[in-house]
């Protein structure tokens, strides 16, 4: 996928109510369901037909293609990513295959009435409509397996050796597993050095301990300290205690700028962790209820 951050992309595509027929109430559109393709409108089938299709699928198709349509024990391919199924509008592509047009590639003809075949096609399309963004299969997210595999005592030893300079199991970390009950969230938080947003940037935090500060020393010797607002090669802006800000022009090393980022120590640890270190420390931290 050729993007850095896709999750906002679908926000561009929103359905606007039709502006036609001003003066007369607009006709309500037929009930439609979304698909994994932004803007796509799949026509929702008739509930009775879908119910029938589901039953017939269970009898004639499920053993090969799987209960979730993602392929079954008897080798039938995943229907959720089938180009033929994805393109089917009203059974015109699916029904001939049910009737035996692909016997040479191993798909037998399945005996069913043409009405049932149509119902199966409608059912398949209805499941396709539940595929998630970027082709995510519908079953994902139902039961996330436990991430706890580490050795708590080895984690405690690692913590004592590497973390105890700044942190303590009976001090700041006490009760961490109660404050962050989900082990995965806890693991993400400690590896990042604090709760973070998905995909990158640090979460906005008012915590003083995580505030990035900067000291600017002018050629005259005058010095200003404050919270770092922004910095680049050309200017640096700080916020003073009273809330006012000051921006300084930068020209190479003048003025002298010293940024203090409390999270830097955590970031510097990232290249050094093994996955076992991480899992062990998490196993230890979840005991700090």
């Amino acid at each position: 996928m050729q993007v850095r951050k896709l999750y906002w992309a679908t926000a561009f595509l929103t359905l606007l109510p039709s502006l036609q027929g001003q003066g007369t109430p607009p006709t309500p559109p037929a009930r439609r369901m979304g698909g994994f393709i932004p803007g796509q409108q799949r026509v929702a089938g008739d509930p009775a037909q879908l119910e029938r299709g589901k039953s017939v699928y269970g009898i004639g198709c499920r053993s090969c293609h799987g209960a979730d349509l993602r392929g079954g024990d008897m080798g039938g391919p995943n229907l959720l990513r089938s180009q033929l199924c994805l393109s089917d509008k009203d059974g015109e592509l699916i029904i001939p295959v049910i009737e035996g047009s692909r016997q040479s590639t191993g798909m037998p003809a399945i005996k069913m009435s043409s009405e049932d075949a149509k119902a199966v096609a409608a059912y398949v399309r209805s499941v396709l409509g539940t595929i998630g963004g970027q082709g995510m299969p519908p079953s994902v997210g139902k039961a996330a397996p436990s991430i706890l595999v580490g050795n708590a005592s080895e984690g405690q030893a690692y913590f004592a050796a590497k973390c105890s300079g700044c942190h303590s199991g009976t001090g700041d970390m006490q009760g961490i597993a109660s404050r962050i009950a989900d082990p995965k969230a806890l693991q993400n938080a400690w590896v990042a050095g604090g709760a973070r947003q998905r995909f990158g940037g640090p979460a906005q935090s008012n915590s003083r301990r995580r505030t990035v500060t900067v000291a600017v020393t002018l050629p005259s010797g005058a010095k200003e300290d404050g919270r770092l607002v922004r910095i680049d090669d050309f200017t640096v802006t700080l916020a003073r205690e009273d809330g006012t800000t000051a921006t300084f022009r930068r020209d190479g090393d003048i003025p002298k700028v010293e940024v203090r980022d409390p999270l830097k120590a955590h970031r510097d640890l990232l290249p050094g962790y093994t996955d076992k270190n991480i899992h062990d420390v998490t196993a230890y931290l979840v005991t700090l209820k």
């Binding site: 996928m1 679908t10 180009q83 991430i147």
Partner: protein
């Protein structure tokens, strides 16, 4: 009323007129114009212009800026039209959608073409012509979409006076460059199958080369169309599609290969001597699980492939990410360089892949010459295979308890075009060193689908950089750290004036000394969203760059 409107349109029509760009012109080195995505076929994004140079760049000043409004509205703002009583621009509406879908805001990620004093560029579903001298809108073409992922559009291709644009709902649309009127549109992929099209078409002789993309498990392909009629000339799949196809042995089954990805997201480079078009292919699918695709290399995904431009037949390939497991597609711009390598004059192709590795190949034969790691903390691979490709470390795939991986799935670089300057011998590219926890959430032995099956949580970066690589050694010669987490922006431009133009990741458009990386000039115009262009008009050199819906032009007066 109609006659008055016609009169109002007339000046715009006249201003938009020109000779266009003959296909033979595209084989010449880049000079006063910018007639194709990368400027020329080499992908170097190197301009021979040097009126603006490292000595005088401090005097570069704003010529104009224009704000573009996508969609049916047509209210150009800024200095382009409003309040300056310019003639009204034309809006031309096409498309097969109902017009109900609101595409909303838009961002210029396109490379901007400059031909005959007119600029041509896009947002998804939208194309514009604006006057290169003052930013005034000449026409605006809007395509009513049927849907599809509207993540970006890389720009237009131009053949004589005709323009070509791809749409998110997979049409190739041809416009008359003088008027913006549509000539024809053709379906190039099926929207219902999840395809969406972002690339800029590349014109080579009488070929319009158009890539496309998809995230669900679908085969990637590249197509060539007739510039006059839009008729398909050839279609080459990037994965095996039938028994006997080369590369099939690297997949667990034919069904897996036929759903194996290898999309053609980004335009390639072209060598007129060998008639080879070189393009980087996308990741295998499912992206994060081996389930259906097996343990093999999954050819020809994550590879640099060279195709004969007349037939589409593959002459050679080189896989830069065998058996990718992190959505590190290899859809980066290849860069063609002639120069010395190990004491020998060679015709080469360079690529810095999303996976953090830099490669030098012989572009005639595909022979591997060099691999180096430019992502400082890249940790997903364990050494190199016998072809010089990185060997993936299974422990760094997404796992249930979580694997700490760098880079994140966004990659060390993404779509942002690199640049190469023959005067410095340096290759310029972004280097992102994000770390992320990769959790396997879909433990189904059949594997997942598309980009599904994992959860990714960013846990910090060890620093993101603009880097200059010496291709002869693969070593980084200099690097400049980006401030903040939003480094990069849209890519690189380098010039014979010893300059490198790029975003600094902090809202500045910066001219760096190409030799040393020292910043020499900047303008704080906001988040840069495309790779800059340069051109010469009336004896003055311009540099353009986009920030969201704004296009900026700087000039040496």
């Amino acid at each position: 009323m109609r006659s008055i409107r016609t009169l109002l349109f007339l000046p715009a029509l006249l201003l938009g007129q020109g000779k266009g760009i003959a296909p033979s012109e595209l084989t010449k080195p880049l000079k006063d114009s910018w007639p194709t995505y990368n400027g020329d076929y080499t992908g170097r994004r190197f301009s021979a212009l040097k009126q603006v140079n490292s000595v005088n760049v401090k005097s570069l000043s704003l010529a104009w800026m224009s704000r573009l409004t996508p969609g049916m509205g047509n209210t150009q703002q800024g200095f382009g039209r409003r309040g300056f009583a310019g003639p009204q621009s034309r809006i031309i509406v096409g498309g097969e959608g109902s017009g109900e879908l609101n595409v909303g805001g838009g961002t210029i990620k396109a490379s901007v073409l400059q031909v005959d004093g007119t600029l041509y560029f896009t947002m998804p579903d939208n194309a514009w012509a604006v006057d290169a001298r003052d930013g005034r809108e000449l026409w605006h073409y809007f395509w009513k979409t049927k849907g599809g992922t509207h993540i970006g559009n890389r720009g237009l291709g131009m053949w004589n006076n005709y323009l070509y644009m791809e749409t998110p709902d997979n049409y190739l649309v041809s416009l008359d460059a003088r008027t913006g009127k549509e000539r024809w549109h053709k379906t190039i992929a099926e929207l219902d199958q999840g395809y969406f099209s972002t690339p800029a078409p590349i014109i080579i002789g009488n070929h319009v080369i158009a890539g496309t993309g998809n995230d669900i498990d679908a085969p990637g392909f590249l197509q060539s169309f007739d510039p006059e009629t839009g008729e398909l000339q050839w279609k080459t799949y990037m994965v095996p599609m039938k028994k006997g196809d080369p590369g099939l042995e690297t997949w667990a089954s034919l069904d897996a290969a036929r759903h194996g990805g290898g999309q053609t997201w980004i335009p390639g480079a072209y060598d007129p001597e060998t008639k080879l078009y070189m393009i980087g292919t996308g990741n295998p699918t499912p992206a994060y699980t081996t389930g259906t695709r097996g343990e093999g290399d999954n050819l020809f995904t994550c590879a640099l492939v060279a195709l004969n431009v007349d037939t589409g037949k593959m002459a050679w390939y080189y896989q830069t990410s065998p058996h990718d497991m992190h959505d590190y597609d290899s859809a980066q711009t290849p860069v063609l360089v002639d120069g010395m390598f190990n004491g020998r004059q060679r015709k080469m192709v360079l690529t810095a892949a999303r996976n953090g590795y830099f490669f030098v190949l012989d572009r005639v034969t595909g022979e591997h010459l060099l691999t180096s790691r430019y992502g400082t903390h890249t940790n997903w691979a364990n050494g190199l295979n016998k072809s010089g490709g990185p060997k993936f470390d299974p422990a760094k795939n997404a796992t249930v308890p979580g694997a700490l991986v760098s880079p994140d799935s966004g990659g060390t670089v993404n779509w942002q075009p690199p640049a190469y300057n023959p005067d410095t011998g340096l290759f310029y590219v972004l280097e992102f060193n994000e770390f992320a926890m990769f959790y396997l959430t879909d433990v189904d032995p059949r594997g997942s689908m598309g980009l599904g099956g994992k959860e990714e949580v960013g846990v910090g970066s060890s620093g993101n950089y603009l880097v200059a690589i010496d291709y002869k050694t693969g070593k980084v010669v200099w690097r400049r750290q980006y401030y903040g987490t939003d480094g990069g922006g849209g890519g690189m431009l380098t010039t014979a004036g010893n300059l490198l133009f790029a975003s600094d990741g902090a809202g500045n458009f910066v001219a760096y000394d190409a030799k040393t990386g020292k910043p020499l000039w900047h303008a704080r115009i906001g988040r840069i969203t495309n790779a800059p262009q340069t051109y010469m008009l009336d004896g003055h050199q311009y540099v353009t760059v986009a920030t969201g819906d704004m296009l900026w032009a700087f000039v040496m007066n």
